[in-house]
Symmetry: C2
């Protein structure tokens, strides 16, 4: 029930308003990685949970960290606390996060590897994530949106091919050669991502975001085949089963020329990284972004100034205020608060 109303106001507040082209009563805001190590309350929960993976699959604690930033800041959306590698993990690939090292993931480099994977529906991992969604939705205020997410097939595949590292050379080689196992891997990730996002929506997510962090690796026909077409099929597949579910696509690094192509049919907003100007992008959907997370390290004055410069480029009816990349470790939570307050005050 995406658009059900209670008390005269639509569920999901300003974020859903912008996604659905209704007039929002304020500029919706959330921050990528708003639940994370820069927050002392997150670090406390993380310590209780054990590893990062343990936290992802602990619905009570994952829900807690999902909600934490909304207690501290006047934001409009919570984003499910999970990881894009939940999908391959739920398909049966081993996954762990080494402290300070990033993920270590089982690899898929052949049709045999691919065929050994199971469907993610019904897996422990997906059941736990969906329980986190349910718990979070039931705790969130009516006008706060809950965003679910998955990784884009290209990005997730690149981690599966590399075994967790973010080096995309082997994935690019497979794409250049159109290796049959790689084409099949992308297709499989489309199917599983649809299942995963539908499950999140049915559990209570009011919108979903597809993070294709490494989309910018490819151009031209390869961008179309391995990035844009798979995303398009996910959007169509999800919306066929959850009609009207808003979708945000963050195809990072594809540039202001190609980013228009990310405004695929059914896409309600596109995420924009810090390195593009919001005023360079001429599309008919909302834009999400793109304050530089480094500005949050530069103190309240600089952060406020830069945040207001972002807002000046685009009216609130078409904008979801966010960062262009995730919040950095070491960010002072007070600076995040100063930015939220400055944006709110500028519109009062």
């Amino acid at each position: 029930m995406i658009d059900s109303r209670k008390g005269g106001k639509p569920l999901g507040g300003a974020l859903l308003d912008v996604l659905l082209k209704r007039t929002p009563d304020r500029r919706p805001m959330w921050f990528m990685r708003q639940a994370g190590r820069y927050l002392p309350e997150y670090r406390a929960v993380r310590q209780r949970a054990g590893s990062f993976v343990d936290l992802c699959y602990n619905p009570e604690l994952a829900s807690e960290v999902t909600i934490q930033p909304l207690r501290r800041y006047d934001l409009d959306a919570a984003i499910l606390f999970a990881d894009i590698l939940v999908v391959p993990h739920a398909m049966g690939l081993p996954l762990k996060f080494e402290e300070g090292e990033g993920p270590v993931l089982g690899t898929v480099r052949s049709l045999d590897d691919l065929n050994a994977l199971r469907p993610l529906v019904g897996s422990y991992e997906v059941r736990q994530v969906c329980e986190t969604v349910r718990l979070t939705r039931s705790s969130l205020a009516h006008d706060k949106a809950l965003i679910g997410f998955c990784g884009g097939p290209w990005t997730v595949a690149s981690y599966m091919v590399a075994g967790g590292s973010s080096d995309r050379v082997d994935a690019k080689l497979a794409a250049f050669r159109r290796d049959p196992w790689f084409v099949a891997l992308i297709d499989r990730l489309v199917v599983e991502s649809i299942e995963y996002l539908v499950a999140q929506a049915e559990a209570g997510a009011q919108a979903v975001q597809i993070f294709d962090s490494w989309a910018g690796d490819l151009i031209g026909d390869q961008l179309q085949e391995f990035v844009l077409d798979p995303i398009s099929r996910i959007v169509a597949g999800v919306q066929a089963r959850v009609p009207g579910l808003p979708v945000i696509v963050f195809a990072r690094g594809i540039g202001s020329h190609q980013i228009k192509a990310a405004a695929l049919p059914g896409v309600n907003a596109i995420g924009v990284e810090t390195e593009l100007g919001l005023d360079e992008i001429d599309v008919n959907v909302a834009l999400q972004g793109n304050l530089d997370p480094v500005a949050l390290l530069a103190g309240e004055d600089v952060a406020r100034r830069e945040a207001l410069m972002v807002c000046a480029k685009i009216p609130k009816e078409r904008h979801i205020f966010n960062l262009g990349h995730g919040i950095r470790l070491g960010t002072d939570p007070a600076v995040v608060g100063a930015v939220v307050d400055a944006v709110r005050r500028s519109e009062a």
Copy 2:
């Protein structure tokens, strides 16, 4: 003597022809990092030289590795073997390259640090580099161009601020705050880069390239102030002293929208990274690039196909064939040869 003629043909061959908007008799080609560890003959010289830094300042051996790729391949240009960190090193900052670790450089984070640096003119480092240029020019065939280079002030400054690592957070913070020492550092790098490029041109370089690898960190006013204006001042300063010296600007990552701004007055070509399509860029100067170096890892068939796709996007009169990033370690030299031959054959 940029344009002196000998035997009826202009010095510098097809590369200079394209830079100077003459009709080239073939598509000029060179490869970023064409002198490097993928070549066994490079590895042999490097072993004799000692460290990477030792090799940069050994004119005989640096000249040898500069010329090596032209012995193996039918290329149109040699690029001086050196490093963008020669400038801060020649200004007095300690520099070493740890094996497999990248550079370790002294830092500049205050006006005092900056004022402690010396002018690079007359330094041992610059004298050795210029001797390399002289030796190389005297060995190169008449129709092969020798390209000198320096880093862009933003990129060089980011290494100076970070002490060698490529993490640009502290440089971005200084730029956000417009710290006076940082503004002065950029200004100083403009002055020193002019001296350095003029010295290279006087020693025999027929064209120079400014590598601003991290230009894409900034947008809008900051891109203008810390990337484009400094480059513009370097170009003007160099051409005031070496009239007509062709300049190639490689401002990586600034996107197809902003890259037009890199076609500054006096700039003869702009370098284009792999992630942009040459046919997206509408400028009135030549374009250099942009085969994906990963394509060279994918075998001769893929590499040839991708190379010819690059050429199909732009006529040879406006194109300097190159990679979009440097040749990768592990590239098979035979694949590079196959690409060169394919481009040549396609135009025969």
